[in-house]
């Protein structure tokens, strides 16, 4: 009985200390943020006119091909990249995204808002001031119907299924490398060369190889959904991923950065079962030995 009391004291002091240095300290150092907002509520007002209309993919095709393909490639539709990554990064500051999958990975509402005003939709107003302009001009002058058409077109050409890696490549890799994804081949470096992306963003965007361990899944979700929430003033734009695409991109980061997660979670219980058996035998041995002396 006395031993149980002592144990209770030891456990209580350990837990109080643990609570203080882990959950409590982290809540003080990283204030709580609102959950991710995949509806992009803040731009709904701007795109009300577009959302009231039904888009026409055929019209959209003509509009996209007339307005977008000068800078953007759409490889799946026969519009290849006009310049290599190095040259286009030099021309635009950052490699422009290929639009083949845009209709799949970006939220339709976000796309409409982004076409109208890229700076506002991606929440980087603080970055494009004093004469600095976003490489993509705002298309707010277009008719709401035209924007609706283009969004529907982009959705119509997008693949139905994408692998986690494909989502990551299209959503993140223009700026971020994830070198553990291909340590030997080096194919997972950022597409925009370091010097260009550095001058475009103000600093070199981090390699994401270990972000699943250093930031963790829930932080990554709220951060990618709206980087300003955790890091006010960061140069990273809100990219407008759908919840599904964001989950896939983060899943890829886990496949690369915490590749043994499944193995770890499967092995754990087996270890613990053996240890429980060891503990039972140890207690039986102890009981038999102490019976003789008590």
């Amino acid at each position: 009985m006395r031993e149980l009391k002592i144990l209770a004291v030891v456990v209580a002091l350990t837990l109080i200390t643990y609570w203080g240095v882990e959950p409590f300290a982290h809540s003080q150092m990283h204030p709580h943020v609102e959950p991710a907002d995949y509806k992009f509520t803040d731009v709904q007002e701007d795109i009300k006119d577009v959302k009231a209309l039904t888009g026409d993919a055929q019209n959209g095709a003509a509009l996209v091909q007339a307005n977008c393909t000068a800078c953007h490639s759409i490889t799946t539709e026969g519009f290849p990249q006009l310049m290599d990554n190095v040259s286009s990064a030099a021309a635009y500051g950052v490699v422009p995204p290929d639009l083949s999958t845009a209709g799949k990975i970006y939220s339709a509402d976000y796309l409409a808002a982004f076409i109208k005003d890229p700076v506002k939709a991606s929440k980087v107003e603080h970055k494009f001031q004093d004469g600095r302009v976003h490489p993509m001009p705002a298309y707010g002058w277009m008719q709401p119907q035209e924007i609706a058409d283009m969004v529907v077109y982009l959705q119509s050409i997008a693949p139905k299924e994408m692998s986690n890696k494909e989502v990551f490549v299209d959503a993140c890799q223009r700026c971020h490398g994830i070198k553990y994804g291909d340590m030997k081949g080096g194919s997972m470096a950022a597409k925009t060369p370091d010097e260009n992306i550095k001058s475009y963003m103000g600093k070199l965007p981090p390699d994401l190889s270990q972000y699943i361990r250093s930031r963790g899944e829930s932080y990554l979700h709220t951060f990618v959904n709206n980087p300003q929430k955790h890091l006010e003033g960061t140069a990273m734009p809100r990219v407008g991923l759908t919840e599904e695409a964001e989950t896939q991109a983060i899943k890829y980061m886990q496949e690369v950065g915490d590749s043994k997660k499944e193995e770890r979670e499967a092995l754990g219980p087996k270890f613990l079962i053996y240890l429980v058996i060891f503990a039972i035998f140890a207690w039986l041995w102890k009981a038999s030995k102490w019976r003789e002396v008590h």
Binding site: R2, E3, I6, L7, V10, L13, T14, I16, T17, Y18, G20, V21, E22, F24, A25, Q28, M29, Y180, M183, P206, D207, S209, Q210, Y211, R213, S214, R215, G216, V256, S259, K260, E263, R264, E265, L267, G268, F271, L272, L275, V276, F278, A279, I280, F281, A282, W283, W285, K286, S288, K289, W290, E292, V293, H294
Partner: protein, 416 residues
């Protein structure tokens, strides 16, 4: 030369040459431990096992680790964690054991303080134990640097900087410790040497010493009772096991240790597989970057109390700089436990609940250490800084008061 008969068994052959029968008696079957103990007396064996886990997992990690600033981070986080079969398991075991061993060290240490197991002949047990605490701390600190993440780098920066506060030779000392003007490749390589060679060897030596120091004064018991070991051992050996106040280390004492070890290992491996972030700080999964200071720099949890004593004195007093006051307090905190046997002026060996004033002192100390630990992690701003100041001051006052507190208990009892 002694004359050797032909041996009839391997055991006998060894016994002739190594005297194994006598050795087993001395070390195991007739090494006497008091019977009146509780599970807190198992912490020594838990520590020995955890240290063994650290050595073995460390050997496996060393096969792939590269102590070079350009390779270290990837050798740990890519090669060991993603490529090597079960490399992640060894790293998690090593990282979590390094943290958990300090929990057990603290339990072991405060058990000793609570039951007064550091005085009246047990001073060397206490001192060798505190030397182990210091060498383990050095091992923990040097090991934390090896993955070369952001916390590795900045903790190294902050801690090596502390030596700059040593009068006159401070600046030169910092450069000498780092091997460079900055925390750099030379620093990493030498801390690697310390972590995998010098410190483990020294620790093993002191563990031997620590075991040896127990031989003459013997292990303490729950009531601090003075036991006549020869008489009690005789009772036990003559079959009067129930009446004897002692038990042999093997198999009776160790059987209880193993039972408690079983529970401990379940707890430990649960942490290894499912709950490891407390021991492997996420911030350290960002590669070291001299140009980016992390928003919050804090040491591992087991250093937080002394770190908070260091930070607690955050304002200059007259011509004395806050940094120097903090450093002096930090130095005080790190050596004061060593002289505990001489601060305790009560000659009796009794558990704290039989020493009324010391009992109160003990629990205030525990509360103070926990508050120091928690506030050692929080940003030292606003009210936090003042809480830190108060608990750091209280820590020092507690030790200054200890001689009087203990003397008063002894007087009341009529012992002095």
């Amino acid at each position: 030369m002694a004359k050797f008969e032909k041996a009839n068994s391997v055991g006998e052959w060894l016994d002739q040459r190594l005297n194994t029968t006598a050795l087993t008696k001395v070390l195991m079957t007739e090494y006497w431990i008091p019977k009146d103990i509780n599970f807190l007396w198992a912490m020594g064996v838990l520590l020995a096992v955890t240290f063994k886990i650290l050595v073995i997992s460390g050997i496996f990690l060393m096969m792939y680790y590269k102590p070079d600033v350009n390779l270290a981070f990837d050798s740990v986080n890519y090669t060991i964690m993603q490529e090597v079969a079960y490399g992640w398991l060894f790293r998690h075991m090593h990282g979590v054991a390094a943290s958990v061993i300090f929990l057990i060290i603290y339990i072991h240490m405060f058990t000793g303080i609570y039951y007064g197991s550091y005085k009246q002949g047990r001073e060397m047990i206490w001192i060798s134990g505190m030397l182990l605490f210091m060498t383990f701390s050095a091992a923990g600190f040097s090991g934390y640097m090896l993955p070369w993440g952001q916390m590795s780098y900045w903790a190294a920066m902050v801690i090596t900087n502390l030596f700059g506060g040593v009068p006159i030779i401070g600046d030169a000392l910092v450069v000498w410790i780092r091997g460079d003007f900055n925390v750099a490749d030379a620093t990493l390589t030498r801390f690697f040497m310390l972590h995998v060679f010098l410190l483990p060897i020294v620790i093993m030596g002191i563990i031997g010493l620590h075991f040896y120091t127990l031989r003459i004064p013997h292990v303490n018991n729950q009531e601090g009772a003075d036991i006549d070991y020869d008489e009690e051992a005789e009772k036990y050996l003559s079959g009067n096991k129930k009446e004897s106040k002692v038990i042999p280390f093997w198999p009776v004492f160790i059987s209880k240790d193993f039972a408690i070890l079983g529970i401990f290992l379940i707890f430990y491996f649960y942490l290894v597989f499912f709950h490891y972030n407390f021991a492997m700080d996420p911030v350290n999964f960002d590669p070291a970057d001299a140009m980016v200071t992390p928003a919050h720099i804090y040491p591992e949890w087991y250093f937080l109390w002394s770190y908070e004593v260091l930070r607690g004195f955050f304002f200059d007093v007259g011509p004395v700089k806050a940094f120097d006051i903090g450093l002096a307090a930090f130095g005080f905190a790190n050596v004061i436990f060593l002289v505990l046997p001489w601060l305790d002026r009560d000659p009796a060996i009794l558990p704290a609940h039989k020493r009324p004033k010391f009992f109160i002192w003990f629990w205030i100390l525990m509360a103070d250490l926990i508050v120091l630990t928690v506030y050692g992690k929080l940003p030292p701003t606003g009210i936090n800084a003042w809480v830190g100041f108060v608990v750091a001051t209280l820590f020092i006052l507690l030790f200054l008061a200890l001689p009087f507190v203990t003397k008063s208990d002894a007087k009341k009892r009529g012992d002095v």
